[in-house]
Amino acid sequence: MLAFILRRLAQALVVMLTVAFIAFMLFQYVGDPVTNLLGQDATPEQRLKLRTDLGLDEPFPVQFARFVGNAAQGEFGLSLRQGRKVSALIAERFPATLELAATAALIGLALGIPLGVYAALKRGSFMSQVVMTGSLLGVSLPNFLIGILLILVFAVVLKWLPSFGRGEVLAIGPITTGLLTWDGIKHLLLPALTLSLFPMTLVLRLVRSEMLEVLRTDYIKFARARGLPDRSIYFRHALKNTLVPVITIAGLQLGAIIAFAIVTETVFQWPGMGLLFIQAVQFADVPVMAAYLCLIALIFVVINLVVDLLYFAVDPRLRIERSAAGH
C-alpha cells in the first residue's frame, strides 16, 4: 500500500515536471521572457539588469531549475495584459471558479445518479426513454449553447435570473463567496446549471450502463434466487457495485468541470480563472497562460491521486490482506 502511494507520487512528480517544462518553454521561447516577467513598460535598464539577473546566458538546466523553483512558490512574473502579478490575479479569481465548479459538480451528482438508476431499473419505459434522449441532447449540446439558451429563457424572456457577473459577494478571510447572499445565489444558478449539464449526463449514462451490467451478473441472479426483496437487490447490492467505477470517473470529471468552466465563465462573464485564461490566450499573455497551466496540472494530479486512494477505500479486493486464503 505504501509502495503504491510512493509510486503514484513519483508519477505525479513526473507529470508536474513535464508540465513545468512545457510552461518553461512557453516562457522562454514564446515572446520575450524579460517582457514576460517585467511587463511591457519596463525601461531598457531594467531589462538589462533582469537579463543578467536571470542569467539568460546560463545553461538550460539551470534556467529550468530556477523556473521550477519560482513556479513552486507561485511566482510567474507580471501579466502582460494587466501589468499585475500573475499570482495575485489568480488568487483573486480562484474562489469564483471553485465555487462555480463545486456547485456544478454537486448538482451533476445529485441529479445524475438517481436519474441513471431510474433509467436502468425502468429500462424501456417511456420516462426512461425520455431521460436517455435528454442525456443524448446533453452530450450533443455544447456548453456555451446551453448557457445561451438558459439566458434566453430565464434572463431575457422570463427575467427571473441575472445573466452575467457574480453579484454580491462576501469575503471570508481570503475567500470571497456569493453563496451567502441571495443575490449571489441568483447569479450562481444559471452558470452552475449550465456547467453541471455535461457531467450530469455523463454520470447518468455511466450509472445506467454500469447498473445494467451489474444486474446481469451471476451474483445478482443468485441474490434473486435466494428470494431477496427487489429493494435490497437494487439498492443494497447493485447500487453498491455500480458506484465503485462511477466514483473514479466522477472524480475525474471534477477536473473536466474546472476546465469547462472556461467556456461557462465566458458566456456569463463570471470573474473566474477560466475567463482570465481565455483573455490571456486572446492576448498571448504568456505568463498567465503558463501559470494557469501549472495550476490546472496540479489540481488534476491531486484529484487523480485522491480518486486512486478512494478506490482502495471502497473496493476490498484491492486491499492486500495478510491472512492466507483457506482451502
Binding site: 443524448l136 441532447l137 450533443s140 455544447p142 458566456v267 481565455i278 498571448a284 497551466l293
Partner: protein, 314 residues
C-alpha cells in the same frame, strides 16, 4: 448465379449485395432513428458543401450588404421579409446564407481534424502495438497523460501557443493550427483501440509464421490488423466528428478558433449573443440550432453504428 467475368466489378457487386443482405443494413432499415439521423446529417452536409451555389445570398461579400436590411426578424414574423428567410444580423447579412457558409467551415474543420486524428492515432497505435517494449510503454504513458486532461484545454493551449508564435498569421496558417489543435485532442482513443488489436494479432501464430518467412510488418498490419479495427475505428470516428465540430464551435465562440474572416457556426453564435437582450434572438439561436442538429444527428448515427456492429447485441 451465373459466373460473371472476373475482376473488381463483380467482386464489388457481390460485396454490395452481401452488405444489403446483412445484419447491418437490416439494423439500419428497421431503426427509424438511424434513418432520420442520417437524412438530417446528409441534408446538412449537402447544404454546407453546396453553399456557394445554393445559398440565396453571399454573406461574405461586403459590397452586397445593405444596412437598411439590418436586424430583420425571420420571414414568418411581423417585420420579416421573404427575401431573408431567417432574418438578418446587424450588418444586413442574411442569416440563412451565413448558416450555410458557416456550416461549411464547421464541417470542414471537423472532418479534417478527425481525419488527421485517425491517421495519427491509428499510426501510433500500430507502432505501439507492434514494436512493444519501451516504445509501447512510452506511447501509452503519453496517452494516459493526455487523457487526463480535458480536450478543450489541450486545444486552447495549442491554439494559444500558435497565436503567440505567429501573431499575424494569415488564414491558412490559422486554420492549420486550429485543425492540428483539435486533432491532437482526440487521437488517443484510436491509438488505444488499434494497439489492443495489434497486440492480439501479433500473438497469433500466422503472424509469427509470416514474420519468419520475411513478410514485412507493414503488410501484416495492413492485411490482418487493419480489417479488424475498421469497425470500432469507424464508430469512434463518427462520434468524434460530432465532438470535433463542437470543439471547433467552442473555440470559435471563445474567439480563439477560426479567423474572423471565415465565420463558422461558433463565431456566428458569439456575435449573436450580444443581441439577445435587444430582442434579436434569431442571430444567435439559428446557428445554434443548426449546430445542434449536426452534432445530434452524427451522434445518433454513431450510437446506432456502435450497436449495429456489436456482435454481442445482434
Amino acid at each position: 448465379m451465373a459466373l460473371s467475368a472476373p475482376g473488381g466489378g463483380a467482386a464489388a457487386a457481390r460485396a454490395l449485395a452481401r452488405f444489403f443482405d446483412g445484419d447491418v443494413w437490416f439494423s439500419f432499415r428497421t431503426s427509424p432513428v438511424a434513418i432520420v439521423a442520417s437524412l438530417i446529417a446528409a441534408l446538412c452536409m449537402f447544404c454546407a458543401v453546396m453553399a456557394p451555389w445554393i445559398a440565396p445570398h453571399n454573406p461574405l461579400d461586403l459590397a452586397s450588404l445593405d444596412l437598411i436590411d439590418a436586424r430583420l426578424p425571420p420571414a414568418w414574423m411581423a417585420e420579416g421579409r421573404s427575401k431573408y428567410l431567417l432574418g438578418t444580423d446587424d450588418q444586413g447579412r442574411d442569416i440563412l446564407s451565413a448558416l450555410m457558409y458557416g456550416s461549411r467551415i464547421s464541417l470542414f474543420v471537423g472532418l479534417a481534424s478527425v481525419l488527421l486524428s485517425v491517421v495519427f492515432g491509428v499510426g501510433l497505435g500500430l507502432l505501439s502495438g507492434y514494436a512493444g517494449g519501451r516504445v509501447d510503454a512510452f506511447i501509452m504513458r503519453v496517452c494516459d497523460v493526455m487523457l487526463s486532461f480535458p480536450s478543450i484545454l489541450i486545444a486552447l493551449l495549442i491554439d494559444g501557443v500558435g497565436r503567440a508564435l505567429f501573431p499575424n498569421a494569415h488564414d491558412t496558417l490559422a486554420f492549420t493550427v486550429l485543425i492540428i489543435a483539435i486533432s491532437l485532442t482526440g487521437w488517443v482513443q484510436y491509438a488505444r483501440t488499434v494497439r489492443g488489436s495489434t497486440l492480439v494479432e501479433r500473438q497469433r501464430e500466422y503472424v509469427q509464421a509470416a514474420r519468419v518467412i520475411g513478410v514485412s510488418p507493414a503488410r501484416i498490419m495492413r492485411r490482418h490488423v487493419l480489417p479488424n479495427v475498421l469497425g470500432p475505428v469507424l464508430v469512434l470516428a463518427t462520434i468524434h466528428i460530432a465532438t470535433a465540430i463542437i470543439t471547433e464551435a467552442t473555440l470559435s465562440f471563445l474567439g480563439v478558433g477560426v479567423p474572423p474572416t471565415s465565420p463558422s457556426l461558433g463565431t456566428l453564435i458569439r456575435v449573436g449573443q450580444d443581441f439577445l437582450f435587444s430582442g434579436e434572438w434569431w442571430i444567435t439561436i439559428f446557428p445554434g440550432l443548426v449546430l445542434v442538429m449536426i452534432a445530434l444527428s452524427v451522434n445518433l448515427l454513431g450510437d446506432w453504428l456502435r450497436d449495429a456492429l456489436n456482435p454481442r447485441l445482434r
